[in-house]
Subunit: 213 residues, 2 copies
DNA sequence: TGCAACTAACTGACTGGTCAGTTATAAATG
DNA sequence: CATTTATAACTGACCAGTCAGTTAGTTGCA
């Protein structure tokens, strides 16, 4: 009977903004529900369009996840690479900066959700795992290996196997993230910065040249 | 036309053996497919009975996972606690032994599959995550903290925050397992034992009293 | 500048299939 | 023959992906 007073359009064409919005919505739903339990309908509604609309921009659910890695996480790794390149003159300082960044990023549930999804899905979708590895992990790993090699070169660290050193460097951040986001462990003993400093303290002593500090 | 020559029974009562067999089958299916994609029908057939039969022993899919933690993983953590209790006289030696055990266990895909499932499902089933935490993580954590505290007490380590030390201790094993099982990283640089020794080398220097070793 | 013709963006009902869990029934067991 | 253990057929709900049709916005033309 009563018509809409002002001709309020049912929807608007927003072709440029859509992909980003859909990815944001997908990340939220995946974070809250996990990949399988997330419904395309909910992702669509959250992004402000209908289910069919999502398929105009993405092939399907799996493609959504792949795009998510590309758009939300890969840039972080690339950023780390930039810092490593710029910091060749002060490798230990750069490592400390990267450590702070890593702690900060991993603390964000939306960021940590992605590796978490990959961990759960790698058996079923090896392609996703491979994508994550090449686009994110290998990039970050290379950046760290560069810095560690530079530190060894300059005599600031004893000659360690870079791979082992990289593992020792990042593992605690992964672990802390698991503890917080997965197990909801009782409040981290210390603020994130303190964690970084504690970790660095142990690590540098372990890797330092004899009696260096 | 032809009847079974020997009256071969269609099935046998095997009430005692069933639960274990079902859990084995469930673990295999969960490992290969993940929790959601694993089908109850497949788990049942793999265990050698029909789908309905599984429901005589377990409430449902989620209960299967919970029982899996109890039966397959919790004993490992309890074993670690025993070792820690027995090794109070030689804390660093016990830690080294536990490190070897941890590396060995995490290398087994069937074992690592469980934390992996928990990681993926903790958002949807907080109860499962809590269960894993109390039955597995807290137990192992307490064991390690005991040993580290003992080592500090005896002056074999400098006075470190036990929590930070525990994190530094286990994190690399978790990381290595991710690298291997999730990302299929190119062959670990070294054999597992070498990994343990490398890790220990860095860690002990980092935690040692000044100029101890 | 007003309107017709057109296109890209979008909707929502529908389909085909899947699968967790239930139940009626039957076989083994003691 | 009563009870336990098991099966197989069934149900009901759910959901990814499709598609015929609709609408917002655009362009060409008078």
């Amino acid at each position: 009977m009563t018509q809409p007073p002002e001709s309020a359009p049912k929807w608007r064409r927003r072709a440029e903004a859509r992909p980003e919005e859909i990815l944001d919505a997908a990340l939220s739903e995946f974070t809250e529900r996990g990949f399988d339990a997330a419904r395309m309908e909910d992702i669509a509604r959250r992004a402000g369009l209908s289910k069919g609309g999502v398929y105009l921009y993405f092939e399907g659910k799996e493609a959504l996840l792949k795009a998510l890695i590309e758009a939300k996480i890969a840039p972080i790794a690339h950023n780390a690479r930039m810092i490593a390149q710029a910091g060749a003159q002060d490798p230990l300082g750069s490592l400390r900066m990267l450590a702070r960044m890593a702690a900060h990023r991993f603390a964000d549930p939306k960021v940590f959700a992605v590796p978490r999804l990959v961990i759960g899905l790698s058996a079923r979708f090896p392609e996703i795992a491979a994508h994550y590895r090449t686009q994110v992990v290998e990039v970050a790993k290379a950046a760290l290996e560069t810095l560690i090699a530079a530190a060894v070169e300059r005599g600031e660290l004893r000659p360690v196997e870079p791979r082992a050193a990289v593992r020792a460097f990042i593992a605690p951040f992964l672990f802390e993230a698991m503890w917080t986001h997965v197990l909801h462990g009782e409040g981290a003993l210390a603020a994130p910065e303190t964690l970084v400093e504690q970790h660095f303290d142990v690590l540098l002593r372990g890797l330092a040249k004899e009696r260096s500090q």
